[in-house]
Amino acid sequence: MIGNVSLLEFLSSGQLVENHRPWPRYRLDGKAWRALVERLDAADWTLMAEWGEPTEIHVALRDEVNRDIAVVSRPAFDRRFFALGQVRPGAVRIERAIRDLWGLAPEGLEDQRPWLDHGRWPSRRPLSAQPQPPAEAPPAYRFLEAEGVGLHQIPVGPVHAGVIEPGHFRFHAQGETVVRLEERLGYVHRGVEGLLRDAPLDKAAKVIARVSGDSTVAYSLAFARAVEAALGCEIPPRAHWLRALMAEMERMANHVFDFGAVCNDAAFAIMLSHMGVLREQLVRANAAMFGHRLLMDRIVPGGVATDLSPEGAEALRHLLHNFAKNFRKAVALYDSAPSLLDRTAGTGITYASLVHRFGAGGVVGRAAGRAHDARRTPGYPPYDELDFDIPLYAEGDVHARLMVRAEEVRASLAIVAQILDSLPKGAISVPLPQVAGEGMGVVEGFRGEVVVWVRMAEDGTVLHCHPHDPSWFQWPLLEAAIEGNIVADFPLCNKSFNCSYAGHDR
C-alpha cells in the first residue's frame, strides 16, 4: 500500500521529541523504523544525512513532494538497526562508518567491510559506550574484484602526485580503459565528532570551521544556524546578509579555481594561471574586508565576528567589476578551444538516474538534471529576498560540470551586487540565550548541501554535533562516472567532481 502518504503523515505515529528546531524530530520503535526503510524503497523522500549516537541512530529526510524536512530517530540499545543502505545506496558507506565509530550494526547491509576504521586507532568503536581494544595488526582491506582476460590493477594513493588530499583509488583496467574503480577513503579521519562531544561552544565552532577548509564558511554557517535554531535565537538582519556575502565569496573563489584546475588536468595550463589570479583577487578581498583569506571563524553562533566597512563594500564593488570582465574572457577562451572541449565533452558521464538515487547535490547533481539547491529548498535568509538563477544541465559530463560552475559564478556575482546594494544597517550579532535544545542547519556550500545537527546543553556546551558533507553522496558516483573512460581522464573527472576528502573522512 504505497499511497501518497507524506513524510510527516507517516511519522505522526511516532513520538514527537520536544525542543527540536526548526524541523520536527520523531522517535520510532524498531518496527516503525523497519516500515520506514521499506517505504523509502518507493517514496520520494531524500536522505539528507545519517548519524549515530552510542544508543541511538538518526536520519534526516526531506519529502520532495511538499518539501517537509524531519529527523527520525530510533533507540538502539541492542546496538543494531535495520539498514537504510538496503534501499538507499547513498547510505551504505555512512552506515559502515556508523558501525566503525559507534558500534551500531547495520542489519541487512550486504557490504559489511569497515570504512573509516583502518585498524590504526587506539581503540575500535571509539565513540560507543564501551570502546574495544584494537586488533593485533591492521586487517587487510578486501577490494571488490573484477575478472577477465588482460585485466590488471592500478593502485593509486593515499599520497598522490599533485597537491591534493589523501585517498586510495584501486583501478581495474583493461589496457587504457577503466573497468572498475573502487575508492578507499578515511585517511584523514580526525575524530571530529569525538572532539565535539561535551565541547565548549567556541572550541566546537573552531573545529567545525576546519571540517573541510575550502567550505569553512558553509560549515560555520550551518553550525551557527543549527545552534541558533536549538536555542531559539534570532540574529540581526545585517548578520544574515553579511553571512550570505561571505558564502558567495567562498563559492566564487572555489568555482573559479576548480574551473582552472580542471582545464589544467587536460593540459590547458593557461586557464589555471588565469583563474589562480582571479581567485587570489577574491581571497585578498576577503582578507581586506573581514581579516581572513578563507574567512575562517568569521561566522559565529549569534551573528558574524567582523563587520563590513562602507569603504570595504565600495572596494569590493570595484574589484568585482573587473573580476566579472576577466572571468567572461576566460570562459570565452574555454569555449574557443576545441582541443580542450574534446577532452571535457562526453567524458566522465554521471546519469540522472544515479544522481537521483544517491541524492547527489551541488555541481555534480545540477550537471545531471537534479536541480536541488538548499538556498531555495528549504531556503534561508537572505536568499528569499534575492533574485538568482540555479543552472541546470542534463549531460552529466565534465563539460556540464564546468558550465554549471561558470553559471554559478555569474549568479554569485549578481547576488553579491544585490547584497552590496541593499545591505541592512544595524548590529551584527546578539548574545546567545542560556537554554537547552536541539537544532539542525542546512546550507548550500559550493560543493552542495552541508547539514549540521547539534544538541546543546543549558550551560552553552555542545553535547553532540554531527557535520554532514555533500561529498558522501558524490564520491560513489565518481566510481560510476569513470567506468569505460581511460585512466588518463581520471584526474579530469576527479577534479570536475572535486569531492572533499577531509569533509567526508571528518
Binding site: E165, G191, V211
Partner: protein, 177 residues
Amino acid sequence: MISPILHFLFRHLIKGPHTMRERIAPDPDGLGELVAALERAARRRLGRSLSIRAVDSGSCNGCELEIHAVNNPVYDLERFGIRFVASPRHADVLLVTGPACCNMAEALARTYAATPAPKWVVAMGDCARDGGCFAGSYAILGGTDAVVPVDLHIPGCPPTPKQILSGLLALLDTAGR
C-alpha cells in the same frame, strides 16, 4: 577577429605577467623585500634548486589551498627555483600539512623513507605543530613530529602565502648551515 587565446597571449606580452607589477611596487606588507631575500638565499644555498613534495597527513585542505596560492602567478614560487614535485624520490623537502592522523601515519613514514637524504621536513600550519584544534582526538597521534623528525615549522591557520615564502626562506638558511 582575434581568437581568445591570441588575445590572452598578447595581453601578457604587452602588459607582462601578473607577478611583475608586485616586484616593481612592493606590497606595503613587505612581500617585495621578502621575495628579493628569498631569491638571494635560494641561489647561494642550493644552486637555485629546491624540490618540495607536499604530504597531507590530515589537513582540512585549507593549507592545500594556500600551497596552490604560492604556485599561482601572483606569488609564483617557481621563479626562485623552488618547485613542487610529484614523487618523494625527487624531493629535498617534505611539506607536511595537518595533524598526524593515525590512518595516515604509515603513508607519511613511508613517504619520508622514500625521500633521499639530505632531506628536510617542514611542518606547515598550526595542526602540524601539535595537532592544533584536533589535539586530544583518538584519531590523531599529534603533530608531524609524532611520525617524522621536523626541521622547521610554518605557523598559521592556514599560513598565508607570505608566511609560506617566509618559512621557506628560513629553511634555506637552515639547509645551508
